[in-house]
Structures are given as structure tokens and as C-alpha cells.
Symmetry: C2
Subunit: 269 residues, 2 copies
């Protein structure tokens, strides 16, 4: 998918919402368990209920992998029903030496037709570049994550006085094909967005942490948006687990997505 | 597997060799392609030929994942035939926020019965601790990797003047259950082993990069071993792709493993 397609969709939908498909057999409502492939049925329902309010879907690969081969089948079937208009992100946090990263790239861009994959930066340039060789495919590199553990290393100061995550953004945003790169920046760190926009003014940011993790959408938009919006804000649990009851499941899920889209629309206008 | 079991095996075999199962359909000898599950047949043959000379096997998960569900089936079957005496490592380089890391831990320790999994440190403590909660299971955290890209971030200096990878070792080696942690340290960085042993004198190190990547076994042993040996040195391509010909395949693979074991035996005595 091209950058222009993403921007068009955001304008059309008045939304920069990404719905995270963290679909867990232990958490999806019980009535889905009657189906042969409960995870797929759940995802299918979630997609039907949310597609008008979001521009991207992000299956969290851990949830599929944990189920063994049947999880990968559920994932494959889910990818088939994500509308072509929507940006699809494999939240996989991969990254290895060059020849191995090439294989991970084949996995997520060829074996499974994702548009993007999340990548951990620790191993440096040759662990990321193989993913950037694919036309119309995207790397979403971990910048500043939304979890407590982001304090351990990402906020360590370098000898030049910058935070380590800033160095990651600064260095990686000069790599070949960096125009097919986005960054993960957690919504729980709204005060950091201004600093981040000084380093990467144009790149899209994938922002987890709104919803269950407590991030503030308004602060993220204020400090993090650019002229193309430049944000994909992810919500997972607050949407997909909006209800446990068959009676109001559709209503609750649709409402959760609609509410976020309405907030986004208001921010965009 | 307990630390004592690993140490016993090393003494018994006079070897600290780990064989990396980077089994690639495009690289395994053509005669395996006649089998229904070529990757499994290849791995089975490799294991039979090398098990007397090594103490661990390390499937590189990227190679299995790239094949979709049939890759995971090959992996599952391979795990069933790795002898109980041998330490099994999922080279997966995972790591995510706490609830997701818990799922990855379930994947590699329960869905697939690995003894250990490699983890990337960027997301910090809560991305690693869920893996350390499993009794007799191991985290192998990326310390200093063997690739060129290790220069990009791992060798950046912190404000205290240490390298970033040293900070990772120093911080993580205080975490709860760190006695079930090992570190990845590339053999291509032999001069760094002395420094690393000052920070983590007792932890085992998983050392890739001997063989095709050019690392020096003798230098690694001299600077990196401790009283328990404390090393698992991995070789992948130099062993498993030792021959392309059916006529001498068994001989070439066994000889490659035997030669490394002999070098190790000499270093240990």
C-alpha cells in the first residue's frame, strides 16, 4: 500500500483508527467457541462491525502463534477478509541478522500478504533493511513503546545527552527506503511526541496504548499529528472485548469503534 | 532443563556445541525434496549425524515460519526427535509488552516444548519477565550480536561511558529469576568477551558466528569460558550445509560436527 492510499483513507473515513486483533481464545465471548474456528469467526465479526470506522487492522501475531498451526490458519483466513482498502499490520516485533530477517520479510509480505510488520531495532541496520526492500510494504520500527519496561533502556541517556530511543529514530530515519518506515510510539508517553516530531516530522507513527493502557488521544493528536495526520492510533482490548454477551456484542463493539472515530473526526476538523 | 544438566552434558560429550537448524527448502540438498516433509527429514538426518557431538539444537524459527503452517508442522515433528539429553533453543528473538510476552512464552514453552527462547531486550523488563516465570525454562537475551548492525545501537556509548549492550547485561542480570537467563554474544566480537565476563561471570553465553560468519572458537573460549565452561557455541550453515551430494552427505555433516567437537575437547582439557 502506498502512503497516498493511507492518507486518502484517513480523509475519507475521518479516522486514523487501527483495530488491534489481539484475539485470545480465553477472552473472546463464549458463544464464539461453538464455531470450528472461533478466532476467525470472532475476527470476521469484529471486522464487519468496525471497518467503516477504522483504516487499519493489526493482528498481534503472538495470539495466533500460541495456538500452533490452527492459529496460523485463523490468521490466514482473517487476512483474506480484511478489506483491500485497509492497511494490514503484522504486530510481530521481529528482527534478526540479515539472512534471517529476509526470511521473516518473506513470511509477512509473501506467505502472508501483510502491508506492514513491526520490527525491534536492537540488532541494527542489517536486521531491518531486508524488510524495506519490498515495494509498497512497510516496516514499523519500535521507537518509544507504551509499556513500563520502556524506562529500562529506551530512556537511557547516550553520551550526547539524548535518549536512546531518539538515537534509534535519528539513525534509522536515514536508512535506504526509510520512506517505507513508520515508528511505534506509545500513547502513554504524550509529552515525548513533540521531541519525536522534531526528529521524524514526516513519518507515520503507530500509536498503541489508547484505551485499556490509558493513553490520551487528544494529547497524542495535539503533539504527534502532522499535515497528513501521520498517526495510526491503535485500540485493541477496548474495542474487541467491549462486551461478553451475545445479546449486545455487536452494538457494544460498533459503539466502541464509532466513539473513537467520532473523537478522531473532531480532532481532524 | 536445569543448569546442572547442561553442565553434565558438556562434560560428558566434551563439547559445548549447539547445532543451528536453519533449515531452508532452498538450501537443503535436492534429494530431500522427494520426501513429503523435506525439512523434517533433513533435520532428522542432521540430528542423527550430530547428536553425539553436540549438547544443544537451535531451530531458527524464521525458517519454519516462512513456510506457513507446514513449517510449524515440521518444527513440531523436529522437536519430538531432539533427544531429551539435548538443550533445545527456539531462536525467535521475540519480546513485547507483558501480556503479549506471556503468550509468546506459552507458545515456545507449552505449545512447543522448547527449553529456551531468544529474546530482544529493547522493550525492557516487563517484556522479558513473563518468560522467566517458567521453571526449568530459559531466556537467552540478546547482548552483543554477531552482525554488522550490532555497531548501530549496541556499541553506542551511554552517558556513563559504557556501551549500550553492557547496560543491557548489567540491568537484566539483576532481574528476578535471572539465574534462568543466558545471553547471546556473537563470536565475531572476541575482544568483548573479557568485558562481558566482568559483568556476567556466571551466566551461560550462547555464541553464534563461529563457522560461516568467521568467528574464532579459540579466542571465544579463552576470553569467554568460566569454570562451568559457560558457553554454547552455535554453528549452523557450516554443519548442516556441509554437502549438497547424497553420496557424501552423511560423512560431510558428521565430520563438520566432529571437527568442532574435537576442537572443543582440546580447549576443555
Amino acid at each position: 500500500m502506498e502512503r497516498a492510499n493511507i492518507i486518502d483513507q484517513i480523509a475519507l473515513k475521518q479516522s486514523f483508527l487501527c483495530v488491534g486483533l489481539d484475539s485470545d481464545l480465553k477472552k473472546i465471548p463464549k458463544f464464539f467457541l461453538d464455531y470450528e474456528d472461533p478466532i476467525f469467526e470472532f475476527n470476521q465479526r469484529i471486522i464487519a462491525l468496525t471497518k467503516d470506522y477504522c483504516v487499519a487492522y493489526k493482528p498481534n501475531i503472538a495470539f495466533y502463534e500460541a495456538l500452533g498451526t490452527r492459529g496460523w490458519v485463523s490468521l490466514e483466513r482473517t487476512l483474506e477478509i480484511i478489506p483491500d482498502t485497509h492497511f494490514s499490520i503484522a504486530d510481530a516485533k521481529r528482527g534478526d541478522i540479515g539472512n534471517t530477517s529476509s526470511l521473516y520479510a518473506r513470511t509477512f509480505f509473501e506467505t502472508y500478504p501483510f502491508h506492514a510488520v513491526t520490527i525491534a531495532p536492537y540488532m541494527g541496520r542489517d536486521s531491518v533493511l531486508p524488510f524495506l526492500e519490498f515495494d509498497k510494504k512497510w516496516v514499523i520500527l519500535l521507537g518509544l513503546t507504551s509499556n513500563i519496561g520502556s524506562q529500562d533502556f529506551q530512556f537511557m541517556k547516550t553520551e550526547r545527552g539524548q535518549y536512546f530511543y531518539q538515537l534509534v529514530l535519528e539513525t534509522s530515519s536515514t536508512w535506504t527506503n526509510h520512506d517505507r518506515m513508520m515508528y511505534v510510539v506509545g500513547a502513554t508517553q504524550p509529552e515525548s511526541f513533540k521531541l519525536i516530531r522534531q526528529i521524524v516530522p514526516n513519518h507515520f507513527l503507530l500509536v498503541p496504548g489508547v484505551g485499556s493502557q490509558g493513553g490520551d488521544l487528544q494529547a497524542v493528536f495535539k503533539n504527534g499529528s502532522n499535515r497528513d495526520v501521520g498517526l495510526l492510533v491503535n485500540a485493541s482490548r477496548s474495542i474487541i472485548y467491549a462486551s461478553n454477551e451475545e445479546a449486545n456484542f455487536d452494538e457494544a463493539v460498533e459503539e466502541a469503534a464509532f466513539n473513537l472515530q467520532q473523537q478522531m473526526k473532531q480532532l481532524m476538523t
